[in-house]
Each structure stands twice: as structure tokens, then as C-alpha cells.
């Protein structure tokens, strides 16, 4: 799964941590692999911060009431070693203060589109409502008796147990950002997983969280309250070179661009904290990493030379995309995942699925699928093994002319999930058996079935970055690029509904301090613009009888960002606005903000982010309703489809439109205003 422009936007913030954990936690870590932390004359130096971040979201109401305590502690340990830790603990009250939206009472009963209603008989459904309603409740679609009545084998497996999968605590997939508009949709459980287990899967830190874990995300089995904890030392050599070593849980930042993660991919990102709107340092997920940096200094040709080796030996963790039902679910992906997982486990009603009349595009009936027919079955999280660790090498230098550059190579695991379609072990809902057994397609292998396992493939990256200044323009230029191999994308033209493609990403940024007299005559206003480009090699897309088939992601996409940041009153007041335009998504976000340092230790930030999108028809793409996994039942004969699997291109916004909408377009209905207060004790 990929979205063009996996990026994050700045906002000054630091968050949580438990002060009481400081000394004990540090000492324990020292016992294992560090020199004596208690020894030496140098004292501990610790800063303690408290922050409250409160967000009000359009329509949803309170969307964040996060309270964070963070302790940053340093101590020289003797023999040149230095120790640093950042402990963070958060508690978000939104799940209790706005429980109807995000907590135990979130969601409710839902209704799903049923565009074939005028063509359907008023037969009763499992939900007790007639089938011919334009909107039917969960459980109000075609079930086994109806299927039998319309000529399917009596053994058909349509329908599901409403008692086990009730129409409660749910929302309609995608309702946070679009209407169904004739496409597919299904119910998504949205309550915390200790309240409603349906669709709960661990995607690697999210997807299966209880209320308490959503409220206090750092206190988990990965000990995320130990946000950073490492020791470092520089070993000098006689020739003036040095070896810098840093061991422990840490962030390793590569690259030169803001917002976009082109080279900055060593640590995964926690988008659940504040979507793309926190500083990356606050949402990178620190990993247990050993890094060594051989600092060679100057040579006859180079002013500076460094080689860095980064070994991420931590157990794999992906990006946290946010659990459905929590305030920040980037791309609404977590809701798709949870809904699909629930479909696999429990079955469910899918809006506008079965063509009416059969084989003909034009109207579609809501359909009740049973368990193990469609959905997400399993998440394959890479276990810890040596071969699953991640390794990077960087050469960083400055030429004698002053050009700073890096060359980077990294082999890592994709931090975004890839959905691989499978068919073995699935139930053919039309027959109740498995596979294709119905002439004329008997024996035809099932493929392109919307039943998935989730994988995190290995990705290899080669890239580089550079920066320089253009004195005549009073501007600094930053560039960054990366070529990856192994990333996987949704691809409806492939039998497993994904393909592996090489991807080139590049960013060019320009920073220019500019005196804008009406803002300040003495302090320059920073204007920073960036343009991000993503190109997918071997991009596959072709015309089907009902629409485009292939890869939903754009072959080329561009995102532009503009930051204008002023500084007033001795830098104690800083207004800024950030704009980001996803050109192919036709989506824009505008984020004004003003920071006020009331004192050296107390800061208040007021801000907002508004999103705009120019329609959503361009998000619609092959939704695989016409992928024809089970011919002849799923074959659009009127469109010339043959009795073998392969998509005709019938399109809707779900499920793939989110990849075209991107993080901005998929959050178009989530305009936020916020206030953040931060105090240093």
C-alpha cells in the first residue's frame, strides 16, 4: 500500500513521559549494556515538560485532549561515554470526553447503499427489512435464501450471523471523507477492541488496541515510554579521524528535506499521534539501533568525509496508521483494514456489490457475505531474525567548493502494509464450496479475490541528497532523491492484486529568508518551498470494458509545499502558514498557526488545518467488483467478460480511492482547530 507523498508537517511539540520512570528505567538499561550510569562526578541533567494538545474537529467535536509528560535526561558516564534518554507518557482524554465519537459508545447502526433497489423484490433479509430499499441496514443484503431464490445453488454461503456481527458500534467505510456514490462500502466496527473485538488485528502496534492502550499509547509491550535511550561515544584516532558510536533506542535521520520522507525512512512513523501534523521527531518510532560513524574529516579534495553504518536490529515495526475509531487514521486505511478483517472473520454486508441483473453493469444490490469469503485474513509481521534486521550505509561529505552531499543505501522492510490476494482456504459464496466448480468455469483457478493477507516486503533503497546556496538569490537549495526496489502497490491487473515496482522519489526545496516589512523590518520571514515528485516505474494501467484496470497510484505525482514563517517580538511570537498541494489529488491543506512563548518555559500555540478537495471523481478506480474471481457468477457477460478471472474495471471510491486522495484528500472532512500549551518545569 502506498500513497503518493508519505509526508508529515511540522509543528513544534514535545510530549509525554513519566517522571517516575526516569531513574529506575535508566538504571535498569545500564545494567544490561551500558557503563555505570550512577558513577562519575557529572550529575544528571534532566528537563521535564508537560504539554496539553486539544483539538476540535469539524463535525466530530473534541478530537484530541492529549496530555503529555516528557523527561529528557542526560548524563556523562565517564570514559567519554554519554547517556541520553527521553521518556514520554501520554494520556488522551478524548476517548472519555467524546466517547460517542471515539470511545466505547462510538458508531452505531448503519445503512448501506443498494442501488439496485428498484429492480429488487421486497423479500425479507436477515435484518428483517425488505431487500428493495435504496439503503439497507447491515444484514439487509442478499443472503442464502435470497440467493437460492434467484437461482444460486442452495448451498450458497451468502449471509452471516447478525447476532455475532450485529449492526451496532459501526460506521460506513469511508464516511469520514466521502459518500458511497454507487461504489462499495461495508460496516466498520469503531469501538476500542476491548469493547468490540470485531476486525481487530495487530498490524504492528495498532489495529488491536484496547481503550487504555489508545488513551496511553506509550505504555505497551514495546515499552514505547522509553522513547529514546542510548549511549554514545567518540573514539579518536591518532590520525585525527574519529569513530562515533551510538547504541540504543534512537532516531536516525537521513536526508535534507522537510515533511517528505524520501531518505528519512529508517524509523517508522506514528501517524496515529497527530496524523501528519506533528514534528517528525515526535512521531518517529525510535528503534533499537547500533550506528557507527567513521569521521574522516578533511582530505586534499574534500572538506569533510564521513561513513555511517546503521544497523536497525530491532524487531520490525511498521508505520502506525491509526486504529479505526481513533481520531487520526491516515488515509482512513485503518478503517478499511478493520472492516475487511471483520468481513473475513464474521462476514458482513457490502453495499452495491451484486450486479442486477447478473452480468450487467448498471445497478448493484447490497450483498451479505459470509465469513472466510472476502476480507483480510492475516497480518504477516516479520518475526525477529537476523535476516529481518535492517542495514543502512551513508557517505556524507562536503566538497572543497562547499557542496554538501550524501549517498545513501538502505535495505529495510516496507513500513506500509502490502495486501496480497489469496484464494486457498476461501469459501466460494456462490456455491458454499471452494474454488470454481461451476461450468463453464469449473476448474478455473480462483484469482483476484478480495481476500488478503498483509505483508511487509523487503525494500532496497539507493539515494542521495545535496544542498548548496545561491548567494545572488539569497537562497539555499536542498535536493533529495531515492530509488527503491521492492515496494508493492495495489494492482488490479495482477492475479494477486498487487505488483512490485521500482519507485523514484525526489524533492527539491528552496529556503529563502525574506524581509517582509509588514511582518517585520528587522527579522526575516522564512519562505520555504518544496516540490515532491514520485515516479513509479513499469506503471501498469489499461482500459477495461467498465473502466481503468491496474495500478491506482499515479505513475507520476507531484506535491508542493509552501511554508511562510515569521518571527516577532524577539522570536517570542511566531506566526506561520503551511500549505500543501497534492496536484493529482487536487487536494490542498492550509495550516495557519501562531506560537507564543509567554515565558522561556511556557508556550501557547494556536492553530488550525483546513483541507480542500476539488471533487472526488478522480479518486474512483477499479474496486474489483468486476474482478470475476468466481465465473460464471461474477462474470460481466454483458460487458464481454469471459469466464476467467480478470477485472473489467468497474470503479468506485472505495477501496482504492484513498491512495489517490492521499493524506490530504482522505482527510478533507477533518478540519481541525487546536490549542497546545507546553510548560517546562
Amino acid at each position: 500500500m502506498k500513497a503518493a507523498g508519505d509526508f508529515s508537517r511540522p509543528k513544534l511539540t514535545v510530549l509525554a513521559a513519566a517522571l517516575s520512570l526516569a531513574v529506575g528505567g535508566l538504571a535498569q538499561a545500564a545494567d544490561e549494556n551500558l557503563p555505570d550510569l550512577g558513577g562519575g562526578a557529572a550529575p544528571w541533567v534532566a528537563d521535564v515538560y508537560y504539554e496539553n494538545h486539544t483539538v476540535r474537529r469539524h463535525d466530530a467535536g473534541l478530537a484530541k485532549f492529549r496530555n503529555t509528560l516528557q523527561v529528557e535526561a542526560d548524563k556523562p558516564m565517564g570514559d567519554g561515554w554519554a547517556f541520553r534518554s527521553i521518556l514520554r507518557g501520554s494520556w488522551d482524554g478524548v476517548y472519555r470526553l467524546n466517547r460517542d465519537e471515539y470511545g466505547r459508545r462510538a458508531g452505531g447502526s448503519i445503512e448501506l447503499e443498494n442501488t439496485a433497489a428498484p429492480l429488487l423484490p421486497p423479500v425479507p433479509t436477515s435484518a428483517g427489512t425488505p431487500l428493495n430499499r435504496p439503503r439497507v441496514p447491515h444484514g439487509g443484503g442478499i443472503n442464502n435464501p435470497i440467493g437460492t431464490a434467484i437461482g444460486l445453488p442452495p448451498t450458497n454461503a451468502f449471509g452471516f450471523d447478525l447476532a455475532a456481527n450485529p449492526n451496532d458500534g459501526m460506521r460506513v467505510l469511508g464516511d469520514r471523507w466521502h459518500q458511497t456514490e454507487g461504489g462499495v462500502a461495508f460496516g466498520v466496527p469503531v469501538r476500542p477492541c476491548d469493547t468490540d473485538k470485531r476486525g481487530c488485528r495487530d498490524f504492528g502496534g495498532y489495529g488491536d488496541l484496547k481503550l487504555g492502550e489508545l488513551e496511553a499509547p506509550e505504555f505497551n509491550d514495546r515499552l514505547d515510554f522509553l522513547r529514546e535511550i542510548y549511549a554514545k561515544k567518540t573514539f579518536p584516532f591518532a590520525d585525527g579521524t574519529e569513530l562515533f558510536v551510538k547504541l540504543g533506542r534512537q532516531q536516525v535521520v537521513w536526508g535534507r528535506t522537510d515533511l517528505f520522507r524520501v531518505l528519512d525512512v529508517i524509523n517508522p512513523i506514528d501517524y496515529s499521534r497527530n496524523n501528519i501534523y506533528d514534528e517528525l521527531q515526535d512521531i518517529r518510532i525510535p528503534m533499537w539501533i547500533a550506528q557507527g560513524e567513521y569521521r574522516m574529516g578533511a582530505s586534499d579534495a574534500m572538506q569533510d568525509r564521513n561513513v555511517q553504518v546503521v544497523w536497525n536490529f530491532d524487531k520490525f515495526r511498521p508505520n502506525n496508521l491509526g486504529q479505526c475509531g481513533s481520531p487520526n487514521v491516515i488515509l482512513d486505511a485503518g478503517c478499511f483494514f478493520r472492516g475487511m478483517a471483520s468481513l473475513w472473520d464474521n462476514g458482513g454486508t457490502v453495499a452495491n456489490f451484486a450486479a442486477v441483473p447478473p452480468g450487467t453493469a448498471g445497478a448493484w444490490a447490497a450483498t451479505d457475505f459470509g465469513p472466510h469469503q472476502i476480507g483480510i485474513r492475516k497480518v504477516h509481521l516479520p518475526e525477529w531474525s537476523l535476516s529481518n534486521t535492517q542495514l543502512g550505509v551513508k557517505y556524507e561529505g562536503i566538497t572543497k567548493e562547499g557542496l554538501a552531499f550524501s549517498l545513501n543505501a538502505l535495505t529495510y522492510r516496507s513500513q506500509l502494509p502490502s495486501l496480497h490476494a489469496f484464494s486457498a482456504g476461501t469459501v466460494n459464496p456462490f456455491t458454499g464450496g471452494s474454488g470454481n466448480t461451476t461450468p463453464p468455469a469449473a476448474g478455473v483457478p480462483v484469482s483476484r479475490l478480495i481476500a488478503f493477507d498483509v505483508h511487509y516486503p523487503r525494500v532496497n533503497l539507493l539515494g542521495g541528497s545535496l544542498d548548496f546556496q545561491i548567494p545572488d538569490a539569497n537562497a539555499a537549495i536542498r535536493m533529495e532523491t531515492a530509488l527503491t526496489e521492492g515496494e508493492e502497490f495495489a494492482n488490479t491487473a495482477r492475479r494477486d492484486l498487487y505488483s512490485s515496482n521500482r519507485v523514484l522519489r525526489a524533492v527539491v526545496g528552496v529556503d529563502r529568508p525574506t524581509f517582509i516589512p509588514f511582518i517585520s523590518k528587522t527579522r526575516a520571514t522564512l519562505i520555504s518551498a518544496q516540490l515532491f515528485w514520485q515516479h513509479i516505474f513499469d506503471h501498469e494501467q489499461h482500459d477495461g470494458p467498465l473502466g481503468k484496470v491496474g495500478m491506482v497510484d499515479w505513475e507520476d505525482n507531484f506535491i508542493g509545499t509552501l511554508l511562510i514563517k515569521g518571527f516577532l517580538a524577539g522570536d517570542r511570537v511566531s506566526p506561520q502558514v503551511i500549505m500543501a498541494r497534492d496536484f493529482r489529488a487536487k487536494a490542498l491543506t492550509v495550516a495557519p498557526q501562531i506560537e507564543w512563548s509567554v515565558t522561556d518555559d511556557f508556550k501557547v500555540t494556536l492553530g488550525a488545518n483546513f483541507k480542500y478537495a476539488n471533487g472526488n471523481n478522480h479518486y474512483k478506480f477499479d474496486d474489483t467488483r468486476s474482478a470475476n474471481p468466481y465465473p460464471p457468477f461474477t462474470t460481466y457477460t454483458a460487458s464481454g467478460q469471459s469466464f476467467v478471472p480478470g477485472s473489467a474495471g468497474l470503479s468506485g471510491i472505495e477501496p482504492l480511492g484513498r491512495f489517490r486522495a492521499g493524506p490530504i484528500g482522505a482527510a478533507v472532512a477533518e478540519d481541525d482547530i487546536y490549542v497546545t500549551v507546553r510548560y517546562k518545569f
Partner: protein, 437 residues
């Protein structure tokens, strides 16, 4: 017409000769330059150690006060006490280098070009008012001065942003500053230069912010090239971004971290010689912020484990260092930016003749109105930390940049340390700023 061209040509040749002529400074010139008070200290009527100059009597001392200081005394914003004039002898290695290389240095054809410089004071001879490039020569003396020596740290370095009217301290910043010279080194190994140095860097400044929270771990690295015509390189590490950003050079005229001082104001002038037109405006005896640190009234505000105390501040808004002022020989130099869009129209620098330190500077805005007054207190190294004693390095010790238009000031209190261990060359690298992030 012919005569006109002939006259123009002869003027041009004369100017070229003035620029390019190797003027061998005599021993007497060098002695006079480095030991101006050997035989006698300057005198002025009524200016004796212990004299307090204030609103009531300032008119008696106008001749020895720069207009900026005079303005504030007249307004009652501050009163100053005269101290005894003392010699601030510069490290012998620098004086010796000046002798060894006397007469080998000349200005190039263009401002910013210097030919034949090795070490020491490039132009130790008295400035000549008839020399159209005398100001430029003094600028070179400043650039290649011994201030901070080959390497020195200010750690810690406390800044305060103050409202001059209310006296409210609006912001406190805690820095560490580090300086290193790559070339023309004299008193710290290696000499005469650090090599390899393929970019031909002359000097680097590394700044690390310790407090407050919003700028904590911000780091700044400025690299100046031996070739004055080449733009400085500057890098900024933002703690909250954990990323080094290349700065455009325009940010050197920006209010540094919102203070009243711009990077270009550091040390009196912290830019390229070629960015300015330099004019020598004369030599006078003036009261300058030179003193002996340990004899001053010191502040108890910050506690140091070694007992070191910082210079206290007083006067209106706490904008004035509480020090004594010495009557000293001063060269007045005016610099005006080549760039017409520069926020400053001109600076008037009061350069101490013995040390080449620009310890008083008046800054004028683009309209030509007085904008800011920079006072840079200098202490004798023998009256400071034990590690600085005998170093021959005149130490910056306290500064105040007063924005007279905004009625605002930024003050700084130094703990300068002439300790080579605090300025290893690796500290001045971009990679060090990243610190393994």
C-alpha cells in the same frame, strides 16, 4: 581633453600605487601599534580614574564619548565611571609575526583582496587620512586580529532580551560559542595552519543553544573562507527537526534568534571585508569599555562551580554593562554596505588601536538614522579566569546591543576560555552538528 585623460590616468595610477605599494612598517610603527601606552597614557581634561560621568556633567566629556554613549548619558539612561588606562598587551607570538612579516602585505586591486599576508597585524603602521584605503587596511587588521586567538570558547554565554523602558527581561538564552582559526595560527598547535584544509577556510564559529526549550539544541556553524570574496557557508541544526539546514548568507543580516543583534554584528563586524566600503575617519582618544574583569562589580545571578562571576548590568532597562571605561587611542572607521538593499546604511566602528577590537559600534538604518549601539566590553586576560592569565588574548567579556529606536536591548555575559581542548577542529564540522542523529 588630453590633459583631462592624463590627469585621470595619473590619479588612477596613484590610487593603484597606494593600494599595491608595500609599505614596510618600521620597528617604531610596530611598537607604537602594539604598545601605545608604553611612554604615556592618553589624557583629557577631567578624565581621571574614578570620575563618574552622568547626565549632570556629560557636557564636560563630550570629546571623549562616542555619540551613542553620550546620548544615553545625556538622557540619564546610564552613568559611567572612568577607569585607569592600562595596556592590553597582545600575545608575543602575534607581535613577533607582525615584525617578521612587516612590509610583505599589500592590498589587492579590489576590496577584499590581500596579497602576501602570513600572520600578525597586516598593517601596523598608523592609518593615513590621505590614504583612500586606510579604512580597508584597518578592517584587515580587525579581521586578522588576535581577538579570541587561534581558538577559544565562550561557555557558558548568557543572553537577555530586555525592554529598555520597563526593564523586563523578555527572554533568556544560554549559548556556547566556539571559535577556531584554520590559518595564520600562532599560539595553539598546530601552527601555522590546520591541514588538510582544501576549502581554504580561515575561521569557523560554532554555536550551540542550551536554553530555552523552544530553541534548545539549535546549532549554528559559520565557515569563513580565506578568500574574502567567497561567501561564508552557514549551517543550522534545529533540535526539533534533527536536521542540518544550509543557510543562505542573507540570514547574517537577520535578527539572530530574534535578538537585537544580527550575525553580521558579532564582534563589531562579522562579515566579509568586500561587502563593505571602508573609510578611515580619524584617530581620537575616547572612553572605551576596556577593564579588568576581576576588579568590576560582578553579578551573583549565575553560579559557576569554579566561582567565576559574570559582569553585572545596570542603567536603564539593565542595558549597560556595569564596568569602568578607559580612555584609549581609537581609530574611527566607517563601513557602508556595497549592497543597496542591506538593512544597514552604515556602521561607525570605534576600533581600539592597541588591540584592533571594535568595541564600540554605531549602526545606522537605511534612512540614515541611528538604529543600534553596540558595546563590547573587553577584559584584560590576566584579570579573569586563571586559564586565561598570560594568554595575551584580549577577552570579550560583556556586550549590549541597544536598539535605540525600539527601546530594546540584548545583553550578553561571557565566560571566555582560552582553552584549545574546547575547540577541537572536529567540533566545527557539519557532521558534529548531526551528532549521530
Amino acid at each position: 581633453m588630453t590633459r583631462y585623460f592624463a590627469r585621470r590616468s595619473s590619479i588612477a595610477v596613484a590610487l593603484a600605487c597606494a593600494a599595491g605599494t608595500l609599505h614596510a612598517a618600521s620597528e617604531a610603527d610596530i611598537d607604537k601599534s602594539f604598545f601605545p601606552y608604553k611612554s604615556a597614557v592618553p589624557t583629557a581634561a577631567g578624565v581621571t580614574a574614578g570620575t563618574v560621568i552622568n547626565k549632570g556633567n556629560f557636557a564636560n566629556f563630550e570629546a571623549v564619548l562616542d555619540p551613542g554613549l553620550q546620548r544615553h548619558i545625556q538622557a540619564g539612561a546610564v552613568e559611567i565611571t572612568v577607569g585607569k588606562t592600562t595596556s592590553f598587551d597582545i600575545d608575543k607570538s602575534y607581535v613577533d609575526a607582525t615584525r617578521e612579516n612587516a612590509g610583505k602585505v599589500k592590498l589587492g586591486a579590489k576590496p577584499g583582496e590581500l596579497v602576501g599576508y602570513v600572520a600578525g597585524r597586516p598593517f601596523p603602521e598608523e592609518p593615513d587620512a590621505k590614504d583612500p584605503r586606510a579604512g580597508e587596511k584597518l578592517a584587515w587588521n580587525f579581521r586578522y586580529g588576535m581577538n579570541w586567538g587561534d581558538g577559544l570558547a565562550i561557555s557558558p554565554f548568557y543572553w537577555k532580551y530586555r525592554n529598555m523602558d520597563s526593564g523586563k527581561v523578555e527572554r533568556n538564552i544560554l549559548f556556547n560559542f566556539h571559535f577556531i582559526k584554520y590559518t595564520h595560527r600562532l599560539n595553539q598547535v598546530p601552527t601555522p595552519e590546520i591541514s588538510p584544509n582544501p576549502s581554504k577556510l580561515y575561521r569557523a564559529t560554532y554555536v550551540n543553544v542550551q536554553e530555552p526549550q523552544d530553541v534548545k539544541n539549535t546549532q549554528l556553524l559559520i565557515q569563513r573562507y580565506e578568500d574574502d570574496l567567497k561567501q561564508d557557508d552557514a549551517y543550522l541544526y534545529l533540535g526539533f527537526q534533527r536536521r542540518v539546514r544550509r543557510l543562505s548568507t542573507g540570514q547574517t543580516t537577520d535578527a539572530f534568534l530574534g535578538s537585537d543583534i544580527m550575525i553580521e554584528d558579532f564582534e563589531g563586524y562579522n562579515g566579509r571585508i568586500s561587502d563593505m566600503n571602508w573609510k578611515y575617519k580619524g584617530t581620537v582618544n575616547m572612553l572605551m569599555p576596556f577593564y579588568h574583569h576581576n576588579d568590576m562589580k560582578l553579578s551573583d545571578e549565575y553560579k559557576e562551580s569554579d566561582g567565576y562571576k559574570y559582569v553585572a548590568f545596570g542603567g536603564q532597562g539593565g542595558c549597560f554593562p556595569d564596568i569602568t571605561w578607559q580612555l584609549r587611542k581609537v581609530h574611527i572607521v566607517e563601513s557602508s554596505p556595497v549592497d543597496p538593499n542591506h538593512p544597514v546604511s552604515r556602521r561607525v566602528h570605534y576600533m581600539d588601536a592597541q588591540t584592533s577590537a571594535m568595541s564600540q559600534t554605531l549602526v545606522y538604518d537605511r534612512k540614515g538614522d541611528l538604529w543600534k549601539i553596540f558595546m563590547l566590553g573587553m577584559t584584560h586576560p590576566d584579570s579573569h579566569l586563571a586559564q586565561n592569565k598570560g594568554s595575551g588574548i584580549v577577552l570579550f567579556d560583556a556586550f549590549s546591543m541597544i536598539d535605540v529606536q525600539a527601546k530594546h536591548c540584548t545583553t550578553g555575559q561571557f565566560k571566555g576560555r582560552a582553552d584549545a581542548k574546547m575547540v577541537p577542529v572536529n567540533l566545527f564540522s557539519v557532521q558534529n552538528m548531526r551528532g549521530g542523529s
